[in-house]
């Protein structure tokens, strides 16, 4: 099978030893089975995330994103740029759209890039890993490599914000996107219906306004429990980190007993495709996803 080729933009959280490194682990086997080849963009830089606005302003943010896009064009011509992280995707896609819309911003951005001997031509498309799975692979083909159906596992698909807004996956509603539920069903598990599917986890404010963000997280986790979920699944690195990491803090402060595992869709798929717990990056969970590990060890 000839593999589909993409320029890969990992982003800071997915590097070795960073908070989303288990995501990077979990996409290896998944992509192998689906015929996807990710080619890392040489010397890529941080996208500025959302919080970059405070000090960075507009043009510097556009320029650092255009640097990645320019490097992709230069080193991996003809390939779409793919990111697993919604913040990276949002920043780079917004950059592409803005620069195409406003010729003056394109000119200014290129003036800045020239300082490092780079130029952005505007030929590359910025896409999210989930978009690639849905649009280029499709649900049927995602089902084909399943060797272990995750039958009986009840999962709350937590889409969150930035994979869903402002762009979202084509054809999906912002208020009740269904693609993640479909992905959960594709691997044989049950997608529970619950009300916190697209609630914001607090984003970067989990750092600066911990109590307010933790209140959001508590609502998400409690609703998942109330609707019978045994696991939360998300496409977002920040959602994953925030919703998993702070449960222990919430328990300390409020005497709750939250211990809901939060994993990536890719970890589900890797297990369903026959991968080991290690290949699925499940040793990287703070709250062990025991039931999913059980499937992996079966």
């Amino acid at each position: 099978m000839t593999k589909k080729q993409y320029a890969f933009y990992p982003g800071c959280t997915q590097q070795k030893g960073a908070s989303g490194s288990n995501f990077t682990t979990s996409i290896q086997l998944m992509n192998e089975k689906l015929g996807i080849q990710l080619n890392e963009i040489p010397d890529w830089n941080c996208c500025g995330a959302s919080i970059g606005y405070g000090e960075g302003g507009e043009l510097p943010r556009l320029a650092i994103n255009a640097r990645n896009l320019a490097l992709a064009e230069q080193h991996l011509p003809g390939q779409d740029m793919v990111s697993g992280c919604p913040a990276c995707w949002l920043s780079s896609r917004e950059t592409v759209e803005r620069l195409h819309e406003f010729g003056s911003l394109m000119a200014e951005t290129n003036e800045a890039l020239k300082e490092a001997g780079l130029a952005f031509k505007g030929t590359v498309k910025a896409r999210h890993m989930v978009e690639v799975l849905i649009e280029d692979v499709g649900f049927e083909a995602m089902k084909a490599p399943v060797v272990k159906s995750l039958e009986g596992l009840k999962i709350a698909g937590y889409v969150g914000c930035q994979t869903n807004r402002p762009f979202g996956i084509a054809g999906e509603s912002f208020e009740n996107p269904m693609y993640l539920d479909h992905m959960i069903e594709t691997v044989g598990a049950e997608a529970v219906k619950y009300d916190q599917k697209v609630t914001c986890c607090g984003g970067a404010l989990a750092f600066s306004e911990p109590d307010k963000a933790q209140n959001q997280i508590r609502q998400i986790v409690e609703s998942a429990y109330d609707h019978g979920a045994e696991l939360i699944v998300t496409p977002c690195q920040l959602c994953q980190a925030n919703v998993e990491i702070y449960q222990s803090e919430i328990n300390k402060k409020h005497g709750t007993k939250l211990a809901m595992p939060v994993v990536y869709y890719s970890q589900l798929m890797t297990v369903a495709y026959g991968g080991s717990a290690k290949e699925a990056g499940l040793n990287g969970q703070l709250i062990r996803a025991e039931k999913l590990e059980g499937f992996a060890n079966k």
């Binding site: 960073a18 941080c46 500025g48 800045a112 970067a204």
Partner: protein
């Protein structure tokens, strides 16, 4: 420009200097954005109110407001606004403009982490999660830093154990090769924008 040029029209100043500021005048005051903010109950001035205040010329009150720093960048407002105002961008733009004029509240915690985050990334081209976290915990002085770090110790150790936080990052960690180029790009972009916005 000097800010005095705009003394009588804060709306014009916002249009000229704030990201997507030209869209403020399109707001029809329906309140959908105000009802959509996840941290809404903590906003003294919702986006809807801020837009009204801008048109009413309340420069001081808007730029010193703590509210837009409460934006989590969830983009709820953007997809719901019936007039398609890019509200998130305007909130970011207002916060940034207030920060650059140094009118934003000095101790605003999101303002502080936004600066730390940006400085961290410009230095090496990539964010060093460990240095960023430590810088954040220690932003209010050494004593508070030790307290914060101790409070979050369990979480930190858990992440280290799970292979998701490397103590080695303190020695340098992830970085780009062309750090110099990145710093030059950022400096140039800032220079161009400052000139255009009269901040230089």
């Amino acid at each position: 420009m000097t800010t005095a040029t705009y003394k009588n029209s804060f709306l014009k100043e916002v249009e000229a200097n704030v990201e997507d500021g030209h869209m403020v005048k399109m707001c029809m005051q329906c309140g959908v954005c105000a009802g959509s903010c996840p941290l809404g109950p903590h906003w003294q001035h919702s986006p809807q109110k801020l837009f009204m205040m801008i048109r009413a010329g309340k420069r001081e009150e808007v730029l010193t407001s703590d509210s837009m720093w409460m934006c989590t960048s969830c983009y709820n407002c953007i997809v719901r606004c019936p007039r398609k105002l890019p509200i998130t961008h305007i909130m970011h733009g207002l916060a940034h403009y207030a920060h650059r004029l140094n009118l934003a509240p000095a101790k605003q915690p999101t303002r502080a982490i936004a600066k730390l985050f940006w400085d961290n990334l410009v230095k090496t081209g990539r964010v060093n999660e460990l240095k960023f976290s430590l810088a954040m915990y220690f932003k209010d002085g050494f004593g508070q830093g030790v307290k914060n770090s101790m409070a979050m110790q369990g979480v930190g150790l858990g992440l280290v154990k799970a292979g998701r936080l490397s103590p080695m990052e303190i020695l340098g960690g992830h970085k780009c090769q062309d750090q110099n180029g990145i710093q030059k790009i950022v400096a140039k972009a800032r220079e161009i924008e400052d000139k255009r916005r009269g901040l230089a």
